[in-house]
């Protein structure tokens, strides 16, 4: 198992994809972190709120949510790329079993997801620091919690990617399907489900993207809103309707939900991969 893990790590770091996708991740995180903290540090904002605004409590979750896109692309290519380049033949010929290969890939890409999450947090925080110092950070405990939840979401997305990539194995098709779903379709589906006449408005929080968003944003929104004391409830409500997360699950429920989706696709990929003829 450890030899297959080493092989997968070797494969990742001998091609360009991992850093090519990491570039937009850190750029986006840096820009969001910097801009958010800069706005929060504007004299007019400080005057209006009468307190320092912990922008990082929002910018880190927003950045993490962006990073999930790149993490899932990485995972999908990790799962399907070997089929595209037909290296899967050699991989299976050198693996003790297909399940062991998939396990090695899952661990490798989970690690990469974690790396992307940590990089996101690092660059977002760095942007905030150079823009307005430590003023825009919530408490250390909150910051840590927000970062951890964000990283967990990013990690889970790359694992989900490996699962779906192995399941569908056609790299182009799987990228299109997953990106269209996450960037476009789930939002549309939520809107449709929220039509009152359908009586399905309880469903949207249980969609995969909503679960992951709850995991990544719940704690940040709470920490941000609590800064405003008595007005916290109103601030939270406003924020949630603004970013479309109204009625979302708590961070742990969303996290469990999304972990379930990831595990489900991983299991489906395992089952499909086990049966597949490599011709």
């Amino acid at each position: 198992m450890s030899r297959l893990l080493l092989a997968e790590v070797c494969k990742v770091f001998t091609t360009k994809l991992w850093w090519a996708l990491l570039i937009p991740v850190v750029v986006i995180a840096g820009v969001i972190g910097f801009t958010g903290a800069a706005i929060a540090g504007l004299p007019a904002v400080l005057e209006e709120t009468g307190t320092t605004v912990p922008a990082v409590a929002l910018t880190v979750p927003i950045s993490m949510k962006q990073t999930t896109i790149f993490a899932v692309i990485l995972g999908l290519i990790g799962g399907a790329g070997e089929f595209r380049h037909k290296t899967i033949t050699t991989t299976y010929l050198t693996g003790s079993s297909r399940g062991a290969v998939l396990a090695a890939k899952t661990i490798t890409y989970a690690g990469l997801g974690l790396l992307y999450g940590v990089a996101t947090f690092g660059f977002c925080s760095f942007g905030a620091l150079i823009s307005s110092g430590t003023d825009s950070f919530p408490s250390a405990a909150d910051t840590l919690m927000i970062a951890a939840a964000g990283c967990a979401g990013v990690t889970a997305w790359s694992v989900l990617g490996v699962g779906i990539g192995t399941l569908i194995s056609n790299q182009v098709a799987v990228l299109i399907v997953v990106l269209v779903y996450t960037l476009f379709f789930e939002g549309l589906l939520s809107l449709v489900l929220r039509i009152p006449q359908l009586g399905l408005d309880g469903v949207p929080p249980y969609l995969p993207g909503a679960g992951s968003t709850a995991l990544q944003t719940d704690h940040g929104i709470t920490a941000f809103a609590e800064t405003f004391g008595d007005e916290a409830f109103g601030v939270r409500d406003g924020l949630e309707s603004l970013v479309g997360t109204a009625g979302q699950l708590s961070w742990w429920a969303g996290g469990l939900l999304f972990a379930g989706y990831a595990a489900m696709f991983l299991a489906a990929g395992w089952l499909a991969g086990r049966q597949r003829d490599i011709t």
Binding site: T14, H85, T90, T94, S96, Q275, D277, I278
Partner: protein, 368 residues
């Protein structure tokens, strides 16, 4: 240590309605090179992939050293395979490719450079596989297959894309490999391509085995005849008949066709009978013709009409007669494989430059 015997038993594979392989059984013994022959589409690749656990059989079993592929543990150390040329990530360097799979098999990194030397890829080892020619990809595939120092080697049409030098080297290599007590199974759709290399053959047609046995036995079933041009054919026929040789035919060009005799025998009889000979030639039914007869059932329309194969060499490269693999291999005990000299390196011209990243000067400026 696995004994490296490949055993295929009642192997069957259906792809939907297509019966790719039907009830195939054969065994490949260690210490021998077995040719796996058949026309394109006969089920060779599917069979090899079932042996290697890549395709699930509909019925039957295929084992290596008595075990299914998925029970081998670290399969790369037991069996190496060259299945198709195009199995590299275009953006990964050849050496990195080997490093990753060396890690998968837990063989030391030193072995990577040894294999690069062995297949003659050193000039291109630090270049992306994107710029590799078909022949270079075959060399890299072979290097990958040999990384784990396997007991068994399975090769699917390995000569594709190799230059004549590479093919000659591969032949000698496979024989040396087998002589060291290991097992080689090599497929081809051209008998002549592997005729000099193999000890036994499995010939398949339409997914079924049509011949399985020693190549020598197949050769023994060849018919031979002597074509002779005589000053007085009638007198020669009389003399031959008197010597107990019958079934003599007259060919269209006026020569006599005498079956199952020796050239010298006919010459001696002619001399004794006082008949002048203007020409004498011995002819054998080509092995290729036997192969064709065995497998022709695959095609309903007459793509191959008799005699077409007797002339030139198919694909123009395979020497049929008088070819001997390089003898007197150095008997050094180098780690890759005792007694095998490395394949000469790829010529610089073979290295295609990547349109994106021109390789750092493998050609000196003096050439420009």
């Amino acid at each position: 240590m696995h004994d490296g015997r490949i055993e295929v038993n009642g192997l069957t594979k259906h792809f939907g309605a297509v019966r790719a392989v039907r009830d195939l059984s054969f065994a490949v013994e260690p210490g021998s090179v077995t040719g796996f022959l058949g026309p394109n589409g006969a089920g060779k690749t599917t069979t090899l992939r079932m042996v290697l656990g890549l395709v699930r059989p509909t019925a039957g079993t295929a084992t290596i050293g008595g075990r299914n592929f998925d029970q081998l543990g670290n399969p790369g150390r037991v069996v190496g395979a060259v299945l198709e040329a195009q199995n590299f990530h275009p953006g990964r360097k050849a050496r990195d490719h080997l490093r990753c799979y060396a890690a998968a098999m837990a063989v030391p990194a030193r072995r990577v450079d040894e294999m690069i030397e062995l297949v003659g890829l050193r000039p291109a080892a630090r270049r992306n596989a994107r710029g590799y020619s078909l022949g270079m990809k075959q060399r890299l595939a072979l290097a990958t297959a040999l990384l784990g120092d396997p007991q068994v080697l399975v090769l699917d049409e390995p000569a594709n894309g190799l230059d004549p030098e590479g093919i000659a080297w591969l032949r000698a290599f496979l024989q040396t490999f087998a002589r060291s007590g290991r097992t080689v199974l090599v497929s081809s759709h051209i008998l002549a391509e592997i005729e000099q290399t193999v000890d036994q053959v499995v010939i398949v047609s339409r997914g079924e085995c049509v011949y399985y046995g020693q190549l020598d036995e197949l050769r023994a079933s060849q018919r031979r005849r002597v074509l002779v041009e005589a000053a007085d054919p009638a007198a020669l026929v009389g003399a031959l008949r008197a010597a107990g040789i019958g079934a003599i035919d007259l060919t269209q060009d006026g020569r006599l066709s005498v079956p199952d005799v020796d050239r010298r025998q006919v010459g001696d009889i002619a001399l004794a009978a006082g008949v002048a000979l203007y020409g004498i030639a011995e002819e054998r039914t080509d092995l290729e013709q036997i192969f064709f007869q065995l497998t022709s059932g695959q095609f309903t329309s007459g793509q191959f009409t008799g005699g077409q194969f007797t002339g030139g060499q198919p694909y123009g490269w395979a020497p049929r007669h008088g070819f001997a693999p390089p003898s007197g291999q150095p008997a050094g005990h180098g780690p890759p494989l005792p007694g095998v000299a490395p394949l000469p390196g790829v010529a610089p011209e073979q290295v295609q430059r990547s349109p994106y990243a021109p390789p750092p000067g493998h050609r000196s400026g003096s050439e420009q």
